[in-house]
């Protein structure tokens, strides 16, 4: 089936980013948002993000116009019946997502693929709330979705090969690269990156090197565009903490134990870029 209309549920940061990505690839987007407050501001926020792209010569004014013209905001889920693929990007709450998939299952034609952008919850479990578990899949876009060229395509236990193949083709149409991942906590990106950030914090805590020294060493030594501590600051230290705790709880291995220094910094209100201070200091925007 040719996917030309994509439904997106949730117009928060991720939903906006996925909508922009799809519209930039020439697809029509139906963006469903229940909260009138979020809905009211979301097209403006997408426009502002596109303005930042224009300022950095990533896009042109006419491309911005075309992208915005392809995104249609809808209030309720029934409008998503017209979509060929629906991607859910609502908050990470299992009950919320399961209820949503039950509802989508009743609205969308049975051949449609239902995808979740979850990074922590089980695709397999969400799929059990539909009559089409073979057509449920995870599409894990990373933030900021329009600029990260990767999507983790996450197979639940019952996801069919056809659903996977169609999803991979969809990712290709978005001009991104898909990696096939079998559902497991943290997938690939989070599972490999978070312990790396955590270890960098241990190095600082143990007095082996300063934060600047750790980031300089890792950037120059391995050709990384950004050091691990600056990256943690950008992600938000509370988010990093939440992730480590999740991996630790799910996998029970000590190597996922959150670094005590991380815990202490969060208690002090040092959350990274968003609070003006983390491992480094930041000017307010």
């Amino acid at each position: 089936m040719q996917i030309s209309t994509v439904g997106i549920v949730g117009a928060g940061t991720m939903g906006q980013g996925i909508a922009t990505t799809c519209a930039a690839a020439g697809l029509d987007v139906l963006l469903a948002e229940r909260s009138p407050e979020i809905a009211a501001g979301c097209l403006e926020a997408i426009g502002e993000d596109l303005d930042r792209d224009i300022a950095k010569w990533r896009r042109t004014e006419s491309e911005k116009k075309a992208i915005l013209a392809r995104i249609r905001l809808v209030a309720g889920l029934p409008a998503l019946e017209a979509a060929h693929l629906v991607i859910e990007a609502v908050p990470e709450d299992l009950e919320l997502k399961c209820a949503l998939f039950r509802e989508l299952d009743g609205i969308c034609p049975p051949e449609d693929i239902l995808a979740t952008n979850t990074s922590t919850l089980s695709v397999t479990e969400i799929a059990t709330h539909t009559k089409r578990p073979d057509r449920v899949i995870g599409l894990h876009f990373l933030h900021p979705a329009p600029r990260v060229p990767l999507v983790e395509v996450v197979r639940g236990l019952k996801t069919s090969n056809e659903t996977f193949a169609a999803s991979r083709e969809f990712v290709r149409v978005l001009d991104k690269t898909a990696v096939e991942v079998f559902e497991y906590p943290g997938y690939v990106t989070t599972r490999v990156m978070l312990p790396f950030l955590n270890e960098a914090m241990h190095v600082v805590m143990e007095g082996v090197a300063s934060a600047e020294a750790v980031d300089t060493a890792m950037k120059l030594g391995y050709g990384l565009p950004v050091g691990p501590l600056a990256l943690a600051d950008r992600m938000g230290l509370d988010e990093v903490m939440r992730w480590m705790q999740y991996l630790f709880d799910e996998l029970g291995d000590l190597k996922y134990r959150p670094c005590p220094l991380l815990r202490k910094m969060i208690r002090a209100g040092h959350l990274g870029v968003k609070s003006g201070r983390g491992f480094f200091e930041y000017e307010p925007e």
Binding site: Q2, S4, G26, L27, K56, W57, R58, T60, R70
Partner: protein, 411 residues
């Protein structure tokens, strides 16, 4: 013979139905019967269609792929009300514009499996253009069945350039490994205009002593130096970015300047590519528009950046024309074509200013009067003559297609 000419972009399809044959070509009486444009394929597409003597059609429709776009085009051409054909079997052949033919395709060619493979081998060098060209071919073949298809390349006319014109001053290994060299584009237009120019001069187009310079000035701009009907140099290079300042492209630039921008602005290769191709040129300098008409109007009202953009544009063009006079060892005629070349008398005048030293000059009255029409604009008795020659790439694609499917030698 009625030839369908297709020019297929990533989400667009331009089509023309042209009636031509050997006699009509010789007499210059071959003509476009109808033409159309479908944009935004893959979603809600916008379709425009017109036929001389009938009301233009404009509609929107869901057109998800090129095959459906080709179907729709043929439906319009055969429609009882809008059409010009009784049925699709009247289409004698299909001519396709293909952007990049690399070093393999030195002339237009009938498309078979081997040719298709050759075009696909050039995907790497024209990732935005060749794949949709092939998609258009596959769509037309699926819709029209056994009719012959011909590929006409933007690059092939410039394949006669000698190595000293096409080799870059880079390590030669890059040419050998990746085909990094100058190819040139707009070949169909330069070929059409230079032939017409020869006819206007009353000389055979392959007269070995004939030296002409053709300026294709549209949204993309290029100049070609042509001796004896063969291109010996052109301003575009490995991609259509090199050479003249264009609507949104920077043209010639020191590559180190872009490397510096990468560091200073913390951007990547995709951004640099967009910066140089979509945000530069007339638009980038003026900060106002890529459209020369808008800039001429603004400059007339005192807008200094619009004036500067025009000055840079004309100065670069003048340098190229003078350089090609040198490359050709003199010049017999210069032609202006494309939207700017055919319509903007002020740009033609400014670009030739000071070139009287090499025998190039304009008659102000005839230059000002030549808007969108063929005309000689140099003063009578001039050593080198200057013309406005409206280009018609589709017509040349149709003529090539007719000759190839009829087994005639190339014109």
């Amino acid at each position: 013979m009625k030839i369908l000419v297709l020019n297929c972009g990533s989400s667009s399809l331009k089509f023309q139905l042209v009636e031509t044959d050997a006699a009509a070509e010789a007499a210059g009486t071959d003509r476009t019967l109808a033409k159309g444009l479908i944009e935004n394929i893959g979603s809600t597409a916008v379709l425009k269609y017109e036929r001389p003597g009938a009301k233009p059609v404009k509609e929107t429709a869901e057109i998800l792929e090129h095959k459906i776009a080709v179907e729709r085009s043929i439906a319009l051409l055969t429609d009882a009300e809008t059409g010009v054909l009784r049925d699709r079997s009247e289409i004698g052949a299909v001519g396709h514009r293909v952007v990049h033919g690399g070093e393999r395709f030195k002339a237009s060619v009938r498309i078979d499996d081997a040719v298709l493979e050759g075009i696909e081998d050039c995907f790497d060098m024209a990732p935005l253009h060749n794949p949709p060209n092939v998609r258009g071919y596959r769509a037309a073949r699926a819709v029209l069945g056994s009719v012959d298809h011909v590929a006409v390349f933007d690059t092939s006319f410039h394949q006669t350039m000698p190595p000293e014109a096409y080799v870059y001053g880079l390590p030669y290994a890059l040419y050998q490994r990746h085909g990094i060299r100058r190819y040139g584009f707009h070949g169909t237009s330069h070929r059409f205009v230079s032939r017409r120019l020869a006819a206007l001069l009353g000389r055979a187009h392959d007269d070995p002593g004939l030296r002409v310079i053709t300026c294709h000035l549209g949204n993309g701009c290029s100049v070609a130096a042509i001796r004896g009907g063969r291109s010996i140099d052109t301003s575009m290079g490995f991609t259509p970015l090199e050479g003249l300042v264009m609507g949104t492209r920077c043209g010639d630039i020191d590559p180190a300047a872009l490397l510096h921008v990468v560091l200073r602005e913390e951007i990547g290769s995709a951004e640099v590519n967009a910066l140089a191709n979509k945000h530069s040129g007339l638009l980038g300098i003026s900060g106002l528009s890529h459209d020369m008409r808008t800039l001429l109007e603004a400059a007339g009202q005192g807008n200094e950046r619009a004036r500067l953009a025009i000055d840079v544009f004309c100065y670069r063009l003048r340098k190229y024309i003078a350089a090609y006079v040198g490359a050709l060892g003199g010049v017999d005629a210069v032609a202006f074509a494309g939207g700017i070349g055919e319509n903007a008398a002020a740009i033609r005048a400014q670009s030739l200013r000071g070139l009287d030293a090499v025998g190039l000059g304009l008659d102000p009255a005839t230059n000002a009067a030549a808007v969108g029409t063929e005309a000689e604009i140099s003063p009578s008795g001039a050593r080198a003559r200057v013309f406005v020659v409206p280009t018609n790439e589709e017509l040349l694609i149709a003529r090539d297609t007719f000759r190839i499917v009829s087994g005639l030698p190339p014109a």
